[in-house]
Amino acid sequence: MPDRPVRVLGKATRDAYGETLAQLGRENPRIVALDADLSKSTKSVVFAKAHPDRFVNVGIQEANMVGIAAGMATTGMIPFASSFATFLMSKAFDQMRMAVANPHLNVKLVGSHAGVSIGEDGASQMGVEDLALACALPGFTVLVPADAVAAGSLTRVAAEHVGPVFLRTGRAKAAEIYATGTEFRVGGSVTHHLGRDVNVLACGLMVFEALEAAAEARAAGIDAGVVDLYSLKPVDADAIVAAAAASGRLVVAEEHLHHGGLGSIVAQVLAERHPARVVSVDLEDRYAESGTPEAVLEACGMTSGRVLEAIRKASAL
């Protein structure tokens, strides 16, 4: 049984993305990056500096950017288009739908500043519906890394996968979870421990919170496990069923609104294959507000303490 994890803040997932993308650019001349005037924030700037001939800053034009990326993909290039998750999904959804998803083009969309952990900039900049929207698009693969190692690896997975991918990254430094070399794949998951009382299914920054909460629960006599469902679509349904079979009661933890994210995906799998009770830890059905990341995360319940409460609640069901 794993020990209580130590919170060591590593790189943000957006940093790992930018660095890995630049490396991929060295390995594959068909990789090209686009940004809509946020490259310093999304970290596609790392690619831009390394490969200026294969970087296009289109200006503040997300819809145009996604259309351009689609056109590039039809010529055999592998475009990575980055912006804030909310701007990509909200401003370019129609372009993702008809220019990318409909013809199933090999376009990679990377949305940073996801969730509420950006803090001070407030609700307009927070990507909190992005996973629901991305998962709605037929044929899209949707990936949510929990730390920098996962982000780097999933960037590579996205480049190697043929077809549209949405990769979600964050601004905040991410607590380190994975050893370099950990394997990630489309449709995969990582089961950290399978609990007999409760299992927490989580993605993104909530994976570390879940690991911490599960360790505390175990110290208190509740056998709690954690599954990192970093591939929201396709989701590792077998891992969800295994978790439900092991504990019967589950917690889902995600930095996303209540509707359409990981909670909805898990509920659908359970309803179809293995009915089980679920307690949700998410952003509910409302927008957050400005504040320090710590204050906003606390106010929104994106903490190990809140996950622990949910574990206790689930274990009592």
Partner: protein
């Protein structure tokens, strides 16, 4: 490279009524579709596919081909008729337009039908996609050109002007836009819905080379498409003044035929007017 028969303007002129008739027959058979904007674009499509584009219907995926995007996707009956005429697919498919299981979708879809280069129908997207193709070609060192046909109603969409800004900034000189200015959109005349003029000034001020012409004048079209090839450093737009419903008297300039199919009687009268009643 290959041969899709570039044919003389005289022959193109003779071909136009047949393309119009094919488009109208398809729409009538489906009992749905968009006659007006299909008929207004016939000469533009013929000039491109039979006089300008470097393409090979036998190899629709040929990497060096020029690309054409029908951004005003609702005009696809005319596109499908021209593609079939070029030999991209058998003419027998034309009557399956809009039928369940047919590759001839109600609006064009990439991957369903040979010769279709983008999924369109949600207006305003084609110019961005075409710009992406042009940039992809440039990065790969191919000299292929990209042509994007938009409707005048379509350019109400903001994305068109995003693409217009960025194409000029990125000096996409192998990108040519064509605007089919038939003056009518779904709810009425463009000048009543949303005024576009002075349109040439708008494109010029965005940094585009502007050519204005009669969009039914095949000589002018072929000449303009030759001229755009010599323009370096900036994208080009051909503002083609056309007549919606061109070639069928009761459809011409008639907003009612934007998206309504002809009845059997109207189709028969249209075919007589086009001179192909027994074709």
């Amino acid at each position: 490279m290959p041969a899709p028969a570039t044919i003389p303007v005289e022959a193109l002129r003779a071909l136009a009524p047949r393309i119009r008739a094919d488009a109208l027959r398809m729409i009538a058979a489906a009992n749905s579709g968009h006659p007006g904007g299909s008929l207004s674009a016939v000469e533009i499509l013929l000039a491109l596919y039979r006089g300008v584009l470097r393409h090979d219907p036998a190899r629709p995926d040929w990497a060096e081909r020029d690309r054409f995007i029908l951004s005003k996707g609702h005009a696809c009956p005319a596109l499908y008729a021209v593609l079939a005429d070029c030999g991209y697919f058998d003419r027998d498919l034309l009557p399956t337009f809009r039928r369940f299981g047919s590759p001839l979708q109600g609006h064009p879809e990439l991957g369903k039908l040979a010769g279709v280069e983008a999924s369109t129908g949600s207006l305003g997207q084609g110019l961005s996609i075409g710009l992406g193709m042009a940039l992809g070609h440039r990065m790969q060192g191919t000299d292929a050109r990209v042509y994007v046909l938009m409707g005048d109603g379509e350019i109400n969409e903001g994305q068109v002007w995003e693409a217009a800004l960025s194409a000029a900034h990125l000096k996409a000189d192998r990108l040519t836009a064509i605007v089919d200015i038939n003056r009518i959109q779904l709810d009425g005349f463009t000048s009543d819905i949303l005024e576009l003029e002075p349109l040439a000034d708008k494109w010029r001020s965005f940094g585009w080379e502007v050519i204005e012409l009669d969009g039914h004048d095949l000589d002018a079209l072929v000449e303009a498409f030759a001229r755009v090839r010599s323009i370096d450093g900036r994208p080009q737009v051909i503002l083609a003044r056309t007549t919606k419903g061109k070639g069928v008297s009761f459809m011409e300039d008639n907003p009612e035929f934007h998206g309504a199919p002809p009845s059997a009687d109207e189709l028969a009268r249209a075919l007589v007017e086009l001179g192909v009643a027994h074709a």
